[in-house]
């Protein structure tokens, strides 16, 4: 390619690089830049150093809300890691067993919720869990647990967990698919050799298959982390921008939205919004970096 000037490479690259840079990279960098500015007279921003960050962490109006959102997000993440990923693993393990009839039907059915918009999911579950409609209560009555029914979505103590579980319900298909693909990749030979060695299905899974898919489990974890700290849609759909009751379902995404757009008692502030966004970016970046250098390095991808 030294003979002629590679204009074609530039032509091929240009449109994608331009749009990507203009609408993804530049806004991100600009947001970070904006976080160092404050709004002055008539909304004109002026450079103010770390003032916004100081406000965010020190001003009681802000820091309380921020840390509330942060910890709620951690809880959201924890519930996903503890519920979504093990269920995904279990379902993937079941699906990957040899000669399973109806495999395609199961996959299609379990993946269906992932295809639907979060708005649909949110409202569907709101209706089902609503004490007015009584569907959830009736179902629990079937299994004799009617007394335990509560309007979970409306209660401060249970709202976050409930929404987290709804999110798990919707997205379990993704780790299931990724883990399933990884399990398919393990050569049949290894399972057969293990069976000849005397292992039953459970032993094959825990001692042969699971160690070999650890890299995939790692990827699933970090994807969950990024997705959870970027989450917004479900909570907004069910609870609106205020993330009630009493901010118990407020997470970083909704906190960002409110800061940037404003709500009843407070004007939106682009600079504070940018600050929150930058913090979110740093959190996600930290998580990804820690993951790649701490965890993924040790999970050797074994040549199969």
């Amino acid at each position: 390619m030294n003979r002629r000037f590679p204009t074609h490479i530039i032509v091929f690259l240009a449109p994608a690089v331009v749009i990507y840079t203009l609408f993804m990279i530049y806004p991100l960098l600009d947001s970070i830049r904006l976080s160092f500015y404050s709004l002055g007279e008539g909304g004109v921003p002026y450079f103010d150093g770390f003032k916004n960050y100081a406000i965010l962490f020190n001003d009681p109006n802000w820091s309380g809300a921020f840390w509330n959102a942060f910890w709620n997000n951690i809880i959201l993440f924890a519930i996903h890691m503890l519920v979504q990923n093990p269920i995904g693993l279990l379902l993937a393990a079941c699906l990957s067993l040899p000669v399973l009839k109806g495999r395609h039907l199961y996959r299609t059915a379990i993946f269906l919720p992932t295809m639907l918009s979060v708005v649909i999911i949110g409202f569907t579950w709101q209706l089902i869990l609503s004490p007015l409609w009584g569907v959830a209560e009736t179902l629990m009555d079937f299994v004799g647990l009617a007394d335990y029914f509560e309007p979970w979505l409306g209660q401060k103590s249970t709202a976050l967990a409930t929404i987290s579980l709804i999110s798990v319900w919707q997205f379990v298909g993704i780790p299931m698919m990724l883990i399933y693909a990884a399990l398919l990749n393990i050569p049949e030979d290894l399972t057969e050799a293990a069976m000849i060695d005397g292992a039953n299905h459970r032993q094959v899974f825990w001692r042969i298959k699971l160690p070999l898919i650890l890299p995939t489990l790692g990827i699933v974890s970090i994807l969950t982390f990024v997705a959870n700290f970027n989450a917004f849609d479900l909570i907004y759909a069910i609870k609106g921008g205020l993330a009630g009751p009493d901010f118990t379902t407020d997470i970083m995404g909704t906190f960002f939205y409110r800061t940037f757009f404003g709500f009843q008692l407070q004007l939106g502030s682009t600079t504070m919004g940018a600050t929150v966004a930058t913090i979110m970016f740093l959190i996600i970046l930290l998580g990804v970096v820690l993951f790649f250098f701490g965890v993924q390095r040790r999970l050797l991808r074994h040549a199969l």
């Binding site: 390619m1 590679p6 074609h8 490479i9 032509v11 091929f12 690259l13 449109p15 994608a16 690089v17 749009i19 990507y20 609408f23 993804m24 530049y26 806004p27 991100l28 600009d30 947001s31 904006l34 379902l91 079941c94 067993l97 000669v99 109806g102 395609h104 299609t108 059915a109 379990i110 269906l112 919720p113 992932t114 639907l116 918009s117 979060v118 708005v119 649909i120 409202f123 569907t124 209706l127 409609w133 009584g134 569907v135 698919m177 990724l178 693909a181 398919l184 069976m195 039953n200 970027n230 849609d233 907004y236 609106g240 995404g253 940037f260 919004g273 940018a274 966004a277 979110m280 990804v288």
Partner: protein, 277 residues
């Protein structure tokens, strides 16, 4: 092997079946009840609509009170156009990365791949300023541009991995024939990556169609509303009108459901193929 497999099969089917029910039943409930009259929705939510309870009143309300057909059209335009453009320029960029060797190639690939992990939403403040500056607020174009930028990193990654697998012989034979680089791309490479299109399509179309954030921020006006935002607004507005709410949800679900069922095999094949990276 023979005996053990038979024993396990029973337990496995039970587990899978239980979860299937958990996954499908809520959706079924919504669809089935949207075809009932109001009193029957409350009286017997679990039953299927029968002659007594069947009613289309919910749908009538939805279609008369809101512009659902407009929202659908908007969603389709945004999704299809952004998918099409993403595929074209994404394939071109992927080819520039995979088909040629030059300095900075790896760095460029890395730069483009960063977007996979970084959520584009974080730059929303500036994106909005940009759109205002370009005069694109409340247009479908704004959404399309943002979605293209959002979908490019993963698309380029998947397509370039795919292109790396095309045997070098093919590329070199074409070059020996003196064919121009553009023709090589359009007539040889593009047809060869058709299988990867399914994978890319899945990872791109679903998040775009279902997105709530950007329509909310960039295109909240009624003429440019997408289905997702439209349903959200409608349900928020008529929250006590159960008929209307259920029907609007069903209207939002059914097209996706139908398409999903038709293409489920290709879809799942696409996902498992893309997941093996």
């Amino acid at each position: 092997m023979i005996i053990k497999r038979k024993f396990n099969a029973g337990a496995v089917h039970v587990i899978l079946l239980i979860y299937c029910l958990i996954a499908i039943w809520p959706i079924f409930l919504v669809i089935s009840n949207s075809f009932k009259s109001r009193k029957w929705i409350f009286k017997d939510p679990m039953a299927l609509p029968d002659a007594a309870s069947f009613s289309l009143v919910g749908f009538e309300k939805v279609l008369s009170r809101s512009n659902f057909d407009l929202y659908f059209t908007n969603s389709i335009i945004v999704t299809v156009v952004s998918l099409g453009v993403t595929l074209l320029i994404g394939a071109m960029a992927a080819w520039a990365l995979a088909g040629y060797k030059y300095r900075g190639n790896t760095l460029l690939a890395f730069y483009l791949a960063i977007g996979i992990m970084v959520p584009i939403r974080l730059g929303s403040v500036s994106i909005m300023k940009l759109m205002v500056g370009l005069g694109l607020m409340n247009t479908l174009t704004a959404l399309i541009l943002v979605y293209i930028a959002m979908s490019l990193p993963l698309t380029i990654f998947i397509l370039s991995e795919f292109m790396n697998q095309i045997p070098n012989d093919l590329k070199e034979a074409a070059r020996c024939d003196g064919v121009s680089e553009y023709r090589i791309f359009f007539q040889i490479i593009l047809p060869l990556i058709r299988p990867a299109i399914a994978t890319v399509g899945v990872f791109t179309m679903v998040p775009v169609w279902n997105d709530l954030w950007f329509p909310l921020i960039l295109a909240p006006g009624d003429e440019v509303r997408t289905v997702t935002l439209g349903v959200q607004g409608f349900v928020g507005q008529y929250v006590t009108d159960w008929n209307a709410v259920l029907s609007s949800l069903t209207l939002a679900i059914l097209p996706v459901l139908v398409l999903y069922l038709i293409f489920s095999r290709q879809l799942i094949r696409g996902i498992t193929a893309g997941a093996v990276k």
